[in-house]
């Protein structure tokens, strides 16, 4: 009843002291909701849409980025409080109402929480909002005292005249500040002066989440409210033909049966009665055209569509020509399955439709879309629809959709009074908006050193963007589907093309944690690992060689590898795999350590992650997001698949749509790079990097390359795989004699001198992290013992040594004497 708590607080107009005491006593989040009209009536200083300061000193921060576990109800207020000079325990948090103009997400174009954007896009505007308010309060104080503003300073919601020690609280200044014009330009703090940002601040929403008082959408209580549960046609796109509700109506507590075109709902006093009533319905469905649809059909369609070129999304150099001239070419097909989101809070929405109004209580990532959807269904003007947002019990992309809100309003139109529509878990799994099935063809041409001279990646799948935001779907290219299609790497020639292939109508696909990066991270990082294996080069050093233009990627790669003990021996049947991605403005690498037993069962034992996400607002939340993202990713790797048979989803509940549990959770280490770069998103990268690290580790452990998720344990049975130790990927120098004695060195003091030395091969430099391939110069940059040199890769690449004698001083002793 947090919303009510707030309302009561307002009605009683408690003194500031009482209010702050109350907030501090609970130590938690007081959530409220208020429509803007009320705010305008109140005597408050409200310099912008994010801040209100009452005469009583109440500081309210209105948070537009919804809280679904990622910590925005702490990080967004931190940004404001940092510049406003208030403590977080002095503020009241309010859900923002739907308003694209005031609360639109600049990256997404409307009011939405998703795509790991919150900190990235509001990092500057929210600090500016706080600073603007503070400046106005300081001006108000200076004018009151008739002193210069520069002699005043603000701290803990009080302005002090420094020379005399006079003080005025923000509450006392609110009226006067409200009469001032906001300054056009305010200066923001030097980051070295941050007292909140960058510190591990306690989550404001945590206290209410450990004692059962946090109110999620499903917890809404409205006087007179009924509970409904629903069954939609199990076949995608099918309709309701007939319902016999005799038995359902006889269930104690059942009040009504509501029929929709494609669903039927039972309205009852409580969910127990509603479910019992639903089980008692005898429903005849009209399955429609998808009656015989199966996953195999979808895969066949994608396979066939991906045979032909798609729309060119990225072209650099002439990949076809480079491929034709390559020493070796490698091709692979990678596939990802349909997935449900399965957030722990089942889909729900409470609606009260009246003659001239509609109230919607829901936890949604897209408030204005929810409002517009309810307006469309009811025929009411937008301003007659009020959406009361709530804490979200897991979003992961599912609550970017309004399908269930539309359905709930359709049901509520037929119910007298408020009704809470709650989906069963079965309904949630079987009527999700699924992560698309992707079918990608990758190919690379390698030079004689095993490094790519050509990279092609054809992506085949539906376009979520074309459905979700048609105006963003430009020139036939889905920018999300192709995001990260070449990874963080530089290749001499690249061709990425996109084949849009939609499933039949009725089967809707949508965003799932990590979005395009989760898709392409798996494809690219799995395939890169194949190339490294083909080149007989250590996967870490192979990647390093391709990251010459991405120093931040290289540094997280190195950090993850070194923290994970890359290269240290593991028992037979165990292996390490690595991945490195750049997405949402963040560079992130993971090393997964797995054990594959003789039956093919895989256990992820340890994951080490290194991330450079630029400036960090709340480091502990960043770590938590990575930890959770990794668990989310492991679930998908080991178990995640939605299978369609006869037009229906086969999986039903957590017995058939399995989730990772405590006893399967690996040890997780997260290492954050201290960075002064712009903030990157951290909600999704942890998930995006996980799957490839695990399949690469499985390869290291078993010699089996898996190109499809979830992993198929049948392929990993001991009888069907090589001895784990037979494929230790140490470069075998004697196999490459043709590379000897040809190199061209440019380095200070030895400029452009051709030297012919036996000794190190470029592959060993790559393996040991001493050389990096720079594609624009077709050269390797080498650094040893503090000296930097450049190797020009001529007709045949190359070896190099830093002295005329065998490299006894080489940092890697292994090279000496070769």
């Amino acid at each position: 009843m947090l919303a009510n708590q707030l309302t009561n607080t307002q009605e009683k107009d408690l003194s500031r002291r009482a209010f702050v005491a109350k907030a501090a006593a609970t130590g938690g989040l007081l959530l409220g909701f208020r429509i803007p009209a009320l705010a305008e009536q109140a005597n408050e200083f409200s310099p912008n849409a994010f801040i209100r300061i009452g005469r009583d000193g109440r500081v309210t921060i209105i948070v537009q980025q919804v809280e679904m576990g990622q910590g925005t109800y702490t990080s967004m207020p931190m940004l404001i409080a940092e510049e406003l000079e208030v403590h977080l325990n002095q503020v009241l948090i309010e859900h923002a109402p739907p308003n694209d103009k005031l609360y639109g997400n600049p990256a997404l174009g409307f009011q939405a929480t998703g795509g790991s954007t919150s900190v990235r896009v509001f990092w500057e505007p929210l600090r500016r909002a706080g600073a603007t308010a503070r400046c106005m309060l300081v001006s108000a104080a200076a004018q009151t005292w008739n002193v210069d503003e520069s002699s005043c300073h603000a701290e803990d919601a009080v302005v002090t005249h420094t020379p005399t020690g006079r003080k005025l609280t923000y509450g006392e200044l609110a009226d006067k500040a409200a009469t001032l014009a906001p300054p056009a330009n305010v200066s923001l703090k030097d980051p070295k002066d941050f007292r909140l940002i960058g510190k591990a601040v306690r989550r404001l929403d945590a206290p209410n989440k450990v004692n059962g008082t946090a109110e999620f959408g499903i917890d809404v209580k409205i006087p007179g409210m009924k509970i409904a549960t629903v069954a939609a046609c199990p076949v995608f796109g099918g309709k309701l033909a007939h319902v016999d509700d005799t038995r359902a109506r006889a269930v104690k507590g059942v009040r009504a049966i509501v029929r929709l075109d494609d669903a039927v709902a039972v309205i009852a006093d409580h969910m127990g009665a509603a479910k019992k009533g639903l089980a008692g319905l005898q429903i005849t469905w009209d399955p429609g055209q998808n009656e015989h649809l199966s996953t195999e059909d979808l895969v066949r369609q994608l396979d066939s569509a991906s045979q032909k070129p798609g729309v060119t999304a990225l072209r650099e150099g002439d990949a076809a020509k480079a491929m034709a001239g390559a020493a070796k070419t490698i091709e692979a097909v990678y596939q990802l399955p349909l997935l449900a989101h399965a957030a722990m809070e089942p889909i729900n929405c409470t609606v009260h439709v009246q003659a001239n109004s509609c109230d919607v209580w829901v936890g949604t990532q897209v408030l204005t879309r929810a409002q517009a959807a309810a307006a469309r269904v009811t025929g009411l003007p937008l301003e007659r629809v009020t959406v009361h947002n709530h804490l979200i019990g897991g979003g992961f992309g599912r609550r970017l959709e309004v399908d269930s809100i539309i359905q709930a309003v359709q049901i509520a139109k037929q119910v007298d009074g408020p009704v809470k529509v709650v989906w069963t878990r079965e309904e949630d799994i079987q009527h999700d908006v699924y992560r698309p099935y992707y079918f990608d063809r990758l190919a690379a041409g390698l030079n004689e050193a095993g490094l790519p001279v050509a990279w092609t990646h054809r992506i085949a799948g539906p376009s979520i963007l074309a459905r979700f935001a048609p105006s963003a779907f430009k020139n036939g290219i889905d920018s999300d589907a192709i995001d990260g299609a070449v990874g963080p790497y530089s290749f001499p020639s690249v061709l990425v093309d996109y084949v849009r292939q939609e499933p039949p109508p009725g089967l809707t696909t949508g965003w799932w944690r990590g979005v395009g990066m989760t898709h392409n991270g798996f494809m690219v990082e799995g395939f890169i690992d194949e190339l490294a294996a083909a080149a007989n080069i250590d996967p870490v050093h192979y990647r390093r060689a391709l990251l010459g233009n991405a120093p931040r990627a290289r540094s997280v790669l190195d950090l993850a590898a070194s923290k994970a003990g890359w290269g240290e021996p593991l028992p037979a049947g165990n292996g390490r795999g690595i991945s490195v991605i750049f997405g949402f403005g963040t560079f992130l690498a993971q090393v997964a350590e797995v054990a594959v037993d003789k039956n093919g069962h895989v256990r992820v034992q340890r994951v080490v992650c290194a991330a450079d996400c630029g400036r960090i607002v709340n480091p502990d939340t960043v770590v938590a997001q990575v930890q959770g993202g990794i668990i989310f990713g492991i679930t998908a790797v080991l178990y995640g698949v939605i299978t369609i048979e006869n037009g229906r989803v086969k999986q039903r509940n957590f017995d058939t749509y399995r989730m990772l549990r405590m006893n399967e959770a690996p040890a997780i280490e997260v290492h954050l790079v201290d960075s002064k770069e712009a903030p990157g998103g951290m909600g999704e990268t942890g998930t995006a990097a996980l799957a490839p690290a695990v399949v690469n580790a499985i390869f290291a452990a078993s010699g089996k390359r898996l190109r499809m998720l979830p992993i198929d344990i049948a392929q990993l049975k001991a009888s069907d795989r090589r001895e784990p130790n037979s494929r230790i990927r140490k470069p075998k120098f004697e196999r490459a004699p043709k590379y000897r004695h040809l190199c061209n060195i440019q380095m200070p003091g030895i400029s452009d001198t051709r030297k012919r030395y036996g000794g190190c091969y470029i592959s060993s430099f790559l393996r040991d992290g001493l050389a990096t391939y720079k594609q624009d110069e077709n050269a390797f940059e080498v650094q040893t013992l503090g000296r930097r040199g450049v190797l020009l890769a001529r007709r045949r690449p190359v070896c190099w040594n830093h002295t005329p004698k065998p490299c006894s001083g080489c940092p890697s002793g292994r090279l000496a004497g070769r």
Binding site: V210, L391, Q625, I631, R661
Partner: protein, 159 residues
């Protein structure tokens, strides 16, 4: 028919079918929404309450089976010693993310600690693997249970 149940030391009378799961009596009839619905099949643990101190999935416990058992929910677990320690450790280690499953996690953890003051990793696995967390807070849950156990160790030794 009407059933008498005792929840968090308070008596209630509810008039529902005997096969109505306790979960819906708590959430929809008594309006105690701290206990969560996750799966309806006893698979995820979100609905965990204590019946006479034993962790029980309320979504598969018919009201008729509750009888005279004392029901404890998340709303009152903080009044018990293990419950309070678990809640404190949960806050100290910042366990929660979305928080939806945490009522059930805390109820399972508090029951574990009540019966086993210093649980091993294996004990934690056995007690907690019935509780799914989709946000993936397992690493912190394990740490928080250990911290809570340490904070309760002196008491246990005295006992």
């Amino acid at each position: 028919m009407a059933y008498q149940i005792k929840v968090n030391s308070k008596d209630h009378q509810v008039d529902v079918d005997g096969d109505t799961p306790l979960l819906w009596v708590l959430r929809d009839v008594l309006e105690m929404t701290g206990t969560k619905f996750g799966c309806g099949m006893g698979l995820c643990g979100a609905c965990t309450v204590h019946l006479n101190g034993t962790p029980t999935r309320s979504c598969v416990t018919p009201i008729a089976a509750v009888g005279a058992s004392v029901v404890t929910t998340i709303e009152a677990i903080g009044e018990t010693d293990p419950g309070a320690k678990i809640q404190k450790a949960w806050l100290d280690l910042e366990v929660v993310q979305c928080g939806y499953c945490q009522s059930g996690q805390i109820m399972s953890a508090a029951a574990l600690l009540a019966g086993n003051p210093s649980p091993s990793d294996g004990d934690i696995d056995r007690a907690m693997s019935g509780n799914i967390c989709r946000c993936g807070t397992y690493v912190r849950i394990r740490g928080a249970i250990k911290q809570a156990a340490q904070s309760s160790a002196p008491t246990a030794r005295r006992g």
